[in-house]
């Protein structure tokens, strides 16, 4: 449940460490609170220092104060799975995206929620080292 001013850790290797939510990109009618699988706009609050070599090359350089899009991958607020299970993590986490809804970085460190798959972020879910495989895959009818 991340809304305006909600902070989260960034768990990819883009260089950002902590980001703050600025906007939740959902329909205007829904409340401005995001959960796992929602796209949000974030401001980078803390980032890793960029080494001299990295600054010269073409690697994505994420700096403090940058505004990026991100997708929420873990929430402290429990999320219900369609089968009635609830899953809750110890922190809020997100992964940075570019305007084309692709991953900005190359790797994801840490567990992500399987609810990502259900919301269409299967690519990110498959990049995570160990996805919470604890979801109910609905049988195709």
């Amino acid at each position: 449940m991340l809304g305006l001013k909600g902070t989260m850790t960034i768990i990819d290797n883009s260089g950002a460490l902590i980001a703050e939510c600025v906007n939740v990109l959902k329909a205007k009618s829904t409340p401005g609170v995001g959960t796992v699988g929602d796209e949000i706009v974030v401001v980078i609050k803390r980032a890793r220092p960029i080494s001299h070599n990295a600054a010269l090359s073409n690697i994505v350089k994420v700096r403090r104060g940058d505004v990026h899009r991100a997708v929420i991958v873990r929430t402290k607020k429990e999320v219900m799975r369609p089968d009635g299970r609830y899953i809750r993590f110890d922190d809020n986490a997100a992964v940075l995206l570019n305007k084309k809804k692709e991953l900005l970085a190359t790797r994801v460190n840490g567990v992500v929620s399987s609810d990502l798959r259900m919301k269409g972020w299967g690519k990110i879910a498959s990049l995570a080292p160990k996805v919470s495989r604890y979801y109910f895959r609905p049988r195709s009818i």
């Binding site: 429990e78 009635g84 899953i87 110890d90 986490a93 840490g110 567990v111 919470s132 604890y134």
Partner: protein, 145 residues
């Protein structure tokens, strides 16, 4: 307008008499009913205590963790398991009567075989104690591998 009641059932069910009790007996699968009457029945000698380490086998893989809470509501009884996965704490709440739970295995019981007896019914304080959780999660990993 009369409706037929399945064989062996009292017609008073149609009037709503003792309907919830009937549902509580018939809705859960036999496996779930045994779980309810043994592991999650506080009067049964084999009931699980909070602090025990359980492993739930689901169709998508097992989830193991320490039992931190049991919410007793008859057929809606649910329990929460907590584990640390890749340095992140994960909690999962299951309904006992969920048809997805294939099996609940007890890896270690609280208070037996050297396991510590917890002095609380709800172990939410473990969320703030990473030291205790690392010890528990390594034991869970070793036991479930």
């Amino acid at each position: 307008m009369t409706q037929d009641v399945p064989d062996g059932l009292p017609t008073s069910l149609l009037e709503g008499k003792a309907l919830m009790a009937h549902l509580a007996k018939t809705l859960p699968t036999p496996a779930a009913q045994t779980l309810l009457s043994t592991y999650f029945n506080p009067r049964h000698p084999d009931h699980v205590l909070p602090g025990s380490v359980l492993s739930v086998s689901l169709p998508t893989g097992p989830f193991a963790g320490i039992l931190i809470s049991i919410r007793r509501k008859g057929i809606d009884t649910s329990f929460t398991l907590r584990n640390v996965v890749q340095r992140t704490g994960v909690e999962m709440r299951f309904n006992v009567c969920s048809p997805l739970i294939k099996d609940v295995k007890i890896i270690s019981r609280a208070g037996q075989n050297g396991g510590k007896r917890m002095r609380r019914a709800k172990l939410f304080y473990l969320r703030d104690q990473p030291g205790k959780m690392t010890a528990i999660s390594t034991a869970v990993k070793k036991a479930s591998s």
